[in-house]
């Protein structure tokens, strides 16, 4: 059962951390009061809409906006020519070009112009009045086609210095990781498997479309309200593109209706600001679902070649992967992470991964939960499964035999500290799911997954109010309950009840720089900063108590929410509670606060093992998920409900990726399924309960042992399901998604 499966391996006693308190934003979110990106208005606000390219690849010869500008009710029209002429780094220049196309439209849906008008009707008419003269060019959307000689070229000049001479100009970068000697290793194998795998692009699929409201005054001060995973990133990017001082632009993050990595960049915000500047009115922009699918997100599609050698007792002698990811029309597919993570779960003597970053005429990819890792794991974990089965070995035993442990040199370089992979495998093996009986046309699959987890720039400010309650200000939008986690860690550290702490997500004017909510970093990094901020406040409170008692601050210790005299010379003063110290703060030196700013290392890598049962209809190729169990190391589960929620949500996104989600392009390079009708994310009736087992192998890099938990759970499902389908139907699916027509064809071709 998902709700009572926690296995505590840590012995430290927590009072608040590890409990299942109620989230502070719960009431607002169940009553409809919570305000998301599209829920704000401003007096005199205009509606901003975007004109998008209907072509997959086209030179923009000219844009005539005069007719639109002349319409009553139209207050501003902008194109890329309206961006100030500022030299930007390559990354930001690409973001700008993606917000409004410059010389070329690079994909179906690429923004080419935008209008601000007094109503949605007028804005729509104005879009139709804009005349764009396109010269349509040949296009390419498949990663393998894009690197063939003669393929349409997106960017003259090709890739960076890592790309060998003579490579396709659509290759933007090459990455290589590993150690040992692959060929020598393969010679020692009893069996070598060489196989190729492909995955289709999938979208993050957040239910809330992108939305923002911009105002920009003639004094150069600007305000933005938007749904984002990182309002500091929004500030910095918009300021760079628009030539503003970062300090003059205040960005407030709304409640965010899902992101999964897809809201770690900007699409509308710089455009809305330009429209606001040009019209001198607030401008609100909200994407339609079709725009979200055509022009934001998705992750990369991939093509991966695997070579793995295995001895007959299941030891991997060598493992190699060559990965090609297309990340849409700009450099930056997550192939580097794919190449780094592919073999991260294993202790290998000979390992090599090579990654190629490829561009195609598709939307610029955005991060998607463990970006780059699921595709690599699909290939590697499928290959290991096939080898194990071919050798008559237990797939969990094979993984245990090769599992990375403390001290293992990872394929991507570092040596692991304490990690949890082995624990997830052993727990899986002992779980009743592993030995439960299966029926006809049913099969069971397992796979492992890994994610790095990140730290990143973080600021937290913790304030003690005069009545002895606590406010925490942090700078990371709360997607899945992190305000609850921060309040819990602050309460734990201060020794006060959870209910006495309220955490808010502060705007960019209130704190220093904060990295976006990504890399499963928030509970780790913001949690660490919250704990450190609480410790700073405790030191100050001990000082105040020392002052009252007339003793040295060093002779005061903090426990159970109060300052206590400690040590032989401290005297016998009665303890002073946090509230008592707060009440007299004005007389002992003024308000009390703690703050912490850091870029913490030591995020602590995370591993998971997933187990899934499927049933395959041999007459239609339909795959049904019958049972699913996630085993994952959380380091320390601060709020177990939300840890389980991350495990379950990631697993189900992986189920969608494995079975039915895909970007479908026509011959014309136009996206054919830009809606939730045919971009098929899992619905409630597709699924069983998703059982979870939380393991807690403390992360030495965090005061409470916390590891990020958000991303690893999307890494194993693709292969776990493919392995299960193979067991159920006898067919080995190497192309995702395993949609019914593909599975049926494989069964018929068997």
């Amino acid at each position: 059962m998902a709700l009572d499966s926690k296995q505590v391996l840590d012995t430290r006693e927590f009072k608040v951390v590890g409990t299942r308190v109620l989230r502070p934003d719960g009431v607002d979110k169940v009553t409809g009061k919570a305000r998301f990106g599209a829920d704000i208005t401003a007096p005199g606000m205009l509606v901003g809409l975007v004109l998008r390219s209907p072509h997959a690849h086209a030179k923009i010869k000219s844009i005539d906006t005069s007719a639109a500008e002349a319409m009553d009710g139209v207050h501003a029209v902008v194109t890329a020519a309206d961006f100030p002429n500022i030299e930007l780094d390559d990354f930001t220049a690409d973001v700008r070009d993606n917000c409004l196309a410059g010389a070329k439209a690079l994909y179906d849906g690429h923004a080419v112009a935008a209008v601000a008008a007094s109503s949605n009707h007028i804005a729509k008419k104005a879009l139709k009045a804009i005349k764009v003269d396109y010269e349509v060019l040949d296009h390419v959307t498949d990663v393998d086609e894009a690197i063939k000689p003669g393929a349409p070229v997106l960017h003259e000049g090709g890739g960076n210095e890592s790309v060998p001479e003579g490579s396709s100009p659509n290759i933007m970068a090459r990455y290589e990781f590993g150690h040992g000697d692959i060929e020598a290793g393969l010679k020692k194998a009893d069996r070598v498997l060489e196989r190729s795998y492909k995955t289709e692009a999938t979208h993050q699929g957040y239910i809330e479309p992108h939305a923002c409201l911009a105002t920009m005054g003639p004094d150069g001060q600007a305000d933005l309200w938007c749904c984002t995973q990182g309002h500091y990133m929004v500030r910095n990017t918009c300021a760079a593109i628009l030539g503003l001082d970062q300090g003059q632009l205040r960005v407030t993050a709304s409640e965010i209706g899902g992101g999964f990595g897809g809201k770690t960049t900007v699409f509308l915000e710089p455009v809305a600001m330009m429209l606001a500047k040009k019209s001198s009115r607030p401008v609100k922009m909200v994407m339609t679902r079709s725009e979200v699918l055509r022009a934001t997100g998705p992750t990369a599609s991939s093509s991966v070649d695997i070579r793995i050698g295995m001895t007959k007792d299941g030891r991997i002698t060598a493992a190699a992967a060559e990965l090609r990811y297309q990340g849409g029309a700009y450099a930056g597919s997550p192939v580097e992470f794919g190449a780094m993570s592919a073999f991260a779960p294993y202790d290998l003597e000979n390992v090599q991964t090579i990654g190629w970053d490829v561009v195609t005429n598709r939307p610029k990819q955005a991060a998607y939960r463990a970006p780059g890792a699921p595709m690599a794991a699909f290939a590697v974990e499928s290959a290991i499964d096939e080898l194990a089965k071919g050798l008559g070995l237990d797939p969990l035993e094979v993984r245990l035999k090769n599992a990375a442990r403390e001290g293992t040199v990872a394929s991507y370089g570092p040596t692991y500290p304490a990690i949890g992979l082995e624990a997830t495998l052993r727990t899986a093996k002992d779980h009743p799911h592993w030995t439960a009986p299966l029926g006809e046309n049913q099969g069971r699959g397992v796979a492992c997954g890994f994610w790095f987890n990140f730290g990143g720039d973080t600021c937290v400010s913790l304030n003690i109010t005069p009545d002895g309650t606590v406010t925490v200000s942090e700078g990371n939008p709360d997607i899945g309950g992190s305000r609850a986690s921060m309040s819990m860690m602050a309460a734990e550290e201060l020794g006060i009840p959870y209910e006495k702490v309220r955490t808010i997500v502060a705007d960019t004017g209130s704190l220093g720089q904060n990295e976006v909510t990504d890399g499963s970093r928030v509970t780790f990094a913001v949690g660490l900063a919250t704990i450190e901020a609480a410790r700073a406040a405790k030191r100050e409170m001990c000082k105040r108590a020392a002052m009252v008692w007339g003793i040295e601050p060093e002779a005061v210790e903090w426990k159970d929410g109060a300052a206590h005299p400690a040590g032989p010379n401290a005297g016998t003063h009665p303890p002073m509670s946090l509230a008592e110290i707060a009440e007299i703060a004005s007389n002992t030196g003024g308000p009390i606060a703690g703050h912490h700013e850091a870029n913490p290392e030591g995020a602590g890598v995370s591993f998971a093992t997933h187990m899934v049962d499927t049933e395959v209809d041999p007459e239609t190729g339909a795959v049904k998920i019958l049972r699913y169990t996630v085993f994952q190391d959380a380091g320390k589960a601060v709020h177990p409900d939300y840890v389980e929620g991350q495990f379950q949500g990631g697993a189900v996104q992986g189920i969608g990726w494995a079975l039915n989600e895909e970007y479908i392009y026509g011959e014309d390079g136009v996206l054919q399924n830009a809606g939730f009708l045919d971009y098929r994310i899992p619905v409630a009736s597709d699924l069983p309960m998703i059982d979870t087992v939380i393991l807690e192998i403390p992360n030495p890099g965090h005061p409470y042992g916390v590891r990020g938990v958000g991303e690893t759970s999307i890494v194993p499902p693709l292969a776990a399901i493919a392995n299960s389908v193979s067991a159920a139907s006898g067919v080995r699916m190497t192309d995702l998604p395993m949609s019914p027509p593909k599975v049926l064809k494989a069964i018929q071709d068997q």
Binding site: I664, L677, D678, V683, P740, L744, Q748
Partner: protein, 285 residues
């Protein structure tokens, strides 16, 4: 744009006879509003038929059932008599969209939207349902399969609309069923749909059958050969295999984002077989 909500059939036909420009009929709106939003439909006027007397009623008629054009599919599912007589039609209607869509969508709208993949249409065709069409010259009744003439096209004339659907009296020992294939378990458009209605005699021999396929041609395909494969048999495995072969042979699908030609052709037979089994068991086999 104008929004009109007449209260009587007379008012409606009179309005439709006046100059409304491009006028669309609004019943449940689950297709029309989607088309309007995406810019595929930009009507000058919308005529809402929900407030017309009788449009929301299910009534007994000649031993069968008359279903008003504004009756939602959810209301059909909640109607015990209709569900008992034509479970296949009610199931098919119940497969259109989510619970939310069910609260609004209608079989008349499903028919007039003329999507090749409409769920309720193969079941209505298999049940030999009739559409009553109201228009400037009064009303006329036609077999439902004659309403859609191609994707998005109908045989309705200017000022005409479907006012009701009539399901005939169910014969003794008869049963119907509808199955569709979709990639998920809900919320998808049919990749293949199949409606089967059949009648058995006292010893379980099939005396009459009607088989219709959806989503494998521009309009519903009535598979005469499939019906023939069943008539005179006990709906045994050999008959079902013959039915499947006939349906696969009759299917003329295209390949698109929802399925390949090969897949749709094969699954036409699979679903026909499965639907026929259910229909036969409902008929008392």
């Amino acid at each position: 744009m104008r929004y009109l909500a007449p209260a009587t059939l007379e008012d409606a036909t009179q309005m439709l006879g006046s100059d409304l420009g491009e006028c669309r009929i609004l019943a449940g709106g689950t297709d029309l509003l989607v088309r309007m939003r995406s810019g595929f439909a930009e009507p000058d006027s919308i005529l809402d038929i929900k407030r017309i007397d009788g449009m929301r009623d299910i009534t007994r008629e000649d031993g069968g059932w008359r279903i008003g054009a504004a009756v939602s599919c959810a209301e059909m599912g909640e109607h015990a008599g209709l569900s008992a007589d034509w479970p296949g039609v009610v199931e098919a209607a119940g497969l259109i969209g989510s619970t939310q869509i069910q609260g609004r969508c209608t079989v008349a709208g499903n028919l007039c939207n003329a999507s090749p993949a409409a769920d309720s249409v193969p079941a209505l065709v298999a049940a030999r349902a009739m559409a009553r069409i109201a228009g400037p010259d009064g009303t006329r009744d036609v077999a439902v399969e004659h309403v859609p003439t191609g994707p998005g096209q109908t045989s309705l004339g200017k000022g005409e609309f479907v006012a009701s659907i009539f399901l005939p009296a169910r014969p003794e020992n008869a049963g119907d069923a509808y199955l569709r294939f979709i990639p998920r378990t809900e919320m998808d458009i049919a990749v293949v749909g199949c409606g089967v209605s059949l009648t058995l005699d006292g010893d379980g021999t099939c005396t009459d059958a009607h088989v219709a396929l959806g989503a494998v041609g521009p309009t519903v395909i009535i598979v005469e050969a499939g019906a023939k494969a069943l008539v005179g048999t006990q709906v045994d495995d050999a008959a079902l295999d013959a039915l499947a072969a006939a349906c696969s042979a009759a299917a003329t699908p295209i390949a698109d984002k929802r399925g390949t030609v090969e897949f749709r052709t094969h699954v036409s037979g699979v679903l026909a077989k499965r639907a026929a089994k259910i229909a036969a068991s409902r008929a008392g086999a």
